[in-house]
Symmetry: C2
Subunit: 469 residues, 2 copies
Amino acid sequence: MSDTELRGDDRIEDGERQLDEDDRLKPEFVDAVLEAVDAGDTDEAKRLVEPLHPADIADLFELTPEDRRAPLAAAVAGLLDGDVFAEMNDYVREQLIDALDARQVADIASELDTDDAVAIIEDMDAEDQREVLRAMEPDDRAAIEEALSYPEESAGRLMQRELIAVPEHWTVGDTIDYLRGHEELTTDFWEVFVVDPAHRPVGTCALSWLLRTPRAVSMSDVMQREQTLIPVDMDQEEVSLRFQKYALISAAVIDGSGRLVGMITVDDIVHIIQEEAGEDALLLSGAGEGDINEPVLDSYKARVRWLIANLFTALLASFIISRFEGTIQRMVALATLMPIVAGVGGNAGTQTLAVTVRAMATNQLTQSNTARAIRREIHVALLNGMTIALVIGTGVGFIFANPMLGGVIAAAMMTNILVAGLAGVLVPVVLERLKADPAVSSSVFVTMTTDSIGFLAFLGLATASGLVG
Amino acid sequence: MSDTELRGDDRIEDGERQLDEDDRLKPEFVDAVLEAVDAGDTDEAKRLVEPLHPADIADLFELTPEDRRAPLAAAVAGLLDGDVFAEMNDYVREQLIDALDARQVADIASELDTDDAVAIIEDMDAEDQREVLRAMEPDDRAAIEEALSYPEESAGRLMQRELIAVPEHWTVGDTIDYLRGHEELTTDFWEVFVVDPAHRPVGTCALSWLLRTPRAVSMSDVMQREQTLIPVDMDQEEVSLRFQKYALISAAVIDGSGRLVGMITVDDIVHIIQEEAGEDALLLSGAGEGDINEPVLDSYKARVRWLIANLFTALLASFIISRFEGTIQRMVALATLMPIVAGVGGNAGTQTLAVTVRAMATNQLTQSNTARAIRREIHVALLNGMTIALVIGTGVGFIFANPMLGGVIAAAMMTNILVAGLAGVLVPVVLERLKADPAVSSSVFVTMTTDSIGFLAFLGLATASGLVG
């Protein structure tokens, strides 16, 4: 009908007027919605928000200042379904849920698969939780109560109980008829599980196989016997690594006796993969959860602990410097130059640390190749050390017209970069052997090492070499 | 048959004897395989490796020292299929592919979907690439050549051309008959695309819907019209954000005129989500790709650039210190204490930076909430600054029996932590506005700021306050 040819980009999203090229809500759009809410024009607010995908409605709440979220929620209440809450940032959701009564929360949770309902309910305080559960249908309540009985961040919390399981002796036709004949079954599944009489999974059948196979073929002939089963108490990080490694779309969750109790699908895992992979940078700097929606006091508590730890490691460096006050007094240029040795060494240590922690998080660094990884880092450190030592040694030698000073800073820099490379790989390896999370505490130890060795090597060599008369 | 009850865990993997609890190959297993290879016992090596999943065979090669990979490949050649190569680390794969001849590479690539074949071929040098393509079937070759014509890291490289597209006027029954009747169709699909006569996607139908709907229903009644289309030239990072945001299992890829040219499935995206999310820590430290399989010289080149940049920012700090040499000469304790102010400020800056970069990478920080994020960081910085200033000020005041010195270091620390918080959020925000990747270059600027301000505030206040007689 239209006389202009649609460009590819134009057809991507209904919501293209609201979204920028990175699928983020445009600030003009957010402002327009909030202005409508402020003006009490609920119809206009609804009209604007209605075409949005649930994930974008969730984003809209995240982008709205905290004190304006409740009025926004009131204005677009009809559009706030379970899917929107399932997509919402934890902190923003908690705040909104607090503003709703138990009946409303129960209605929202009832719409959702178990995993999403649990995500909404698990963060509420015990009393509110009880109230919401009381307001739910007995079946839904039982499912959620069971999920809540598993440890936090375990497969049991992530899984949905809605799944398709069929007996081995069925044919493809039986399975299709069953799916067509039972309205109440979930539609959110990508594989069918084949179970034995004790309800233990014996195979998995991707829906594409089911569709491409004649009706008369037995399920046991079309299913794949080799399958990845997830124990219900497995930690979500391991679940996500398993999904990645074996490129899974969905996987059966089993209890201690091997019975099928639930299913995890990849869309539930994708945000965990993203979270777990992204937290390295936050953990290495001691920034805690690092969520921009986290309350200020929580961020403060998480961060100040690491700053205090950092303060104490800095005191160790100070103590080392104080041993050389006489040397500094006689040649104050040493005080000028010493932060360079410590700083560049610190950066070199952080580089190695980031590489090592990443390799560990992705299971690429194991006992089999640790020795090789250490040798590799020593090689890189030798090359880096020689380069930086040459640059700084030559520069300082010329600028201060003091080749001896150039030699001292070059040797100190070489030493510190080598130590940084070793510490950057050894500290996380040792922490992991001690069952500590290497991402959490490594950087304090590495920085302590590079600071201390930096000052010690530079000031020590300056003293020992006779540079300072 | 067995008289012992199988525990849940025991049934998880056929390969459990080879894998530890984190799904990593056990060192004993790797050693056993390599010993068999060394002893020339190919049968034993094959017997050991055969039960492994392709992803685990790929891991085995990654865990094997570089010089022993070719003999291992020769020993288990029959087990080295395309799936193994598709799962392998880029560097390890490149090295192995180099050792094979064009005919062998062509055979391996022909087994794979376009996206996996492209991943193997795209890193070869131009001449080897031509040779491999010549050795392939014309159809496969055309598909791969087309994929290679799209920019690196674009949707065109990621997509597979094998997909199921059906016309709108078909019924569910027509679609199922088509799937059953055409042996040559792919089995690797989770959704069916419905297209108009110009082959433009008009809707998507999840296989679960297809299976649950009676045969007579028209495809246009069962399909979902609202769908996420991926332009063929979209960058893979944006593709992965879109998959995450809308919890996609697969998505249609369209060319400039809106025609369906390929499909991306979530299993191709999962490792990109993981890579993109995990690279923050690497980029912030200037560790480049940060892959432990990267050749030493490449790692050296990536890292030394940032160490040199860091060296120059350290020189700026040195220059600032040198302006205060007279002050330090008169009170050498200042040299002892000054690294504390710079170091803790640096850590505070890195914390804020990590949080900001993460929020940007996940599209949580946009123009709409930048002002709020800055205010939030100022609040956190004020609380952190007051705490740390109190601790260090009191400590230094007592230890040096010099309350004035305690006051000076407290004020300098407060200033530097506040500046660190501001720099940690403003630097990446400004870099992003300038279309630079905030993760790549922010930390140099932030460290430069916290170092300079740390020394300047402390030494400047010491001078200005009259502390140093």
